[in-house]
């Protein structure tokens, strides 16, 4: 049995994966409601919460399952330093108590390989093809990787400023929809009827596609945020007058269409340079239906396999870390001494 602990940001997770990839136990304590009054994650509050949640959650695991744990993994980066240290040191204590080897695992690699976690009710062996492309989109990350093997990922491009999820949170705050923004903005955008099945928008708002002609595989979303703000203020950033709430669905549909386009054009450009038959899209923003629709449509048109994690594996969770641990052990990757690394990018 492979047990894992995840505390990189504001979700406390513990999971146990069996040797066939089924999740025998999974616990997740979200801190979203605690952070909501502050308009975003408060790092010190998150670290305090991990410290008290972890021992309480661990004791909820069935003892007979804990006795079968043979390996323990913990997210050791990237993430908030105080949060990572709470998880890493708790894991060190548990590993000592259970006398099992401890692996420090990369949070981003966990997201990337989460696209291959089998559904418990529909279990089948998945062979992961290499190389493939992996797009990771979340509140803290917008990165495109060439995945060469389980332990070798090359960073092809990343955001130069805001992550996609960060953009959505900021737009949500601007429109008064609160934190986090992704889900509520998508619901609002769904009220707009004139958007195609592949998330192409043909309405009144004209938003620029960021980095369309940059000539590289990087992303940028701060300019798009400004463009949306300009539309909210009726074309004048200095204006106090704003569009009617009735126009929000159309504006947000335009936004999601442009975001999906901006992500797809970079993946398409990467496929030109690095031919692959598979693209994965993971991370919290990979839940978004517009992005899923656009990528699925592009995949069908090109004969390209596009995989998304199950929605519960898109947000931060420990199941993806337990799954990654299982893959590591099966590949005979040995545990090595590790420390918490808040800026650990697996592709650098």
């Amino acid at each position: 049995m492979y047990a894992a602990i995840e505390t990189s940001f504001d979700e406390t997770g513990i999971a146990i994966c069996d040797p066939e990839g089924r999740m025998a136990a999974s616990l997740l304590a979200s801190q979203v409601e605690r952070h909501k009054p502050y308009g975003g994650c408060v790092p010190e509050l998150a670290a305090r919460t991990h410290l008290s949640d972890l021992p309480q959650m661990w004791r909820q695991l069935p003892p007979e399952l804990v006795q079968q744990v043979t390996h323990l993994g913990v997210t050791s980066g990237p993430g908030l330093p105080g949060c990572l240290l709470a998880g890493v040191n708790f894991a060190r204590g548990v590993a000592r108590a259970l006398r099992v080897p401890l692996f420090g695992l990369n949070h981003l690699a966990g997201h990337v390989f989460s696209a291959f976690i089998p559904e418990n009710s529909d279990y089948r062996v998945v062979t992961i093809p290499y190389p493939h492309l992996a797009l990771l989109v979340s509140g803290g990350h917008t990165e495109l990787f060439l995945v060469k093997s389980l332990t070798a990922m090359e960073l092809l491009g990343q955001t130069r400023d805001d992550a996609v999820g960060e953009l959505l949170d900021k737009i949500s705050a601007l429109l008064g929809y609160g934190y986090p923004g992704g889900a509520v903005l998508e619901l609002k955008a769904r009220e707009y009827p004139d958007i195609s099945d592949d998330a192409r928008y043909r309405g009144e708002f004209k938003l620029p596609v960021p980095m369309r002609d940059s000539g590289d595989l990087n992303f940028s979303y701060s300019g798009l945020k400004t463009a949306v703000l300009r539309e909210i203020r009726r074309g004048d950033l200095a204006s106090d007058t704003v569009i009617d709430a009735g126009q929000h669905p159309s504006l947000l549909a335009a936004l999601f269409s442009v975001v999906a386009e901006s992500l797809w054009i970079k993946v398409a450009a990467a496929l030109e340079q690095y031919p692959a038959e598979l693209v994965t899209v993971s991370g919290g923003v990979a839940i978004n239906g517009f992005i899923r629709a656009r990528f699925a449509a592009e995949g069908r048109a090109r004969g390209l396999e596009v995989r998304f994690p199950q929605p519960r594996h898109c947000l931060d969770n420990a199941e993806m870390i337990a799954w990654l641990l299982k893959l590591y052990v099966e590949a005979n990757v040995a545990p090595v001494p590790f420390d918490a690394h808040s800026n650990w990018n697996p592709g650098l």
């Binding site: 008290s52 661990w58 240290l85 890493v88 000592r96």
Partner: protein
Amino acid sequence: MHLLLDSSGAELVCALADAEGVIAENRLPAGSEAARDIAAVAGPLLGEKLPRDLDGIVAGLGPGSFIGTRVALSYANGLGARGDVPLLGVNSLAATGSVFGGGRGVVLRDARRGEVYCYGPAGHAPECRLLALADLAAELGRLLIGSVVIEQPSPHYPNAAKVLRAIMAAATSAGATTVECSGVPAEGLRRAGQAAKPVDYLEPVYLRGFL
């Protein structure tokens, strides 16, 4: 046999103790590379012992550096996660005071941001509080205490020497005799642990908010 842990101050402290006293001890400067892996520091002390082989784990709850204090407490919580070893939390400054100053004086620890953590004297309520460095001399004078134990700030802190001088000056101007210590003594953790009640999990003493 008890495992003693404290990472709230200028040194990471790992020790083993029995009813008679401290048997073995490892101390490392907080912030040093070697001190970042508490399991590697505690492991050689524990040898083949599992948590269930211990009579308890005594851990310093601070007050101190938020992140630093949580290193030992997270590790202790992990060791005790199966519920087969008592977890005993103690105030780190009380542990220091039980060894230095005869347990009757005041213990001071730099809290950064121009503030000082202050414990004691015995019987004072609250026992532990956060004081502005600028108010320290007047507060110590008001308390009419005889001795002050001052923990040396971590040498990794750029303003350590300056802060130590300021705390010493405040104590001296209040007429107190001063004792310096380099960190929480393991013997103090052992003594304080004898009076501690077991808890389900350990949490730091927080004298500051999280914003």
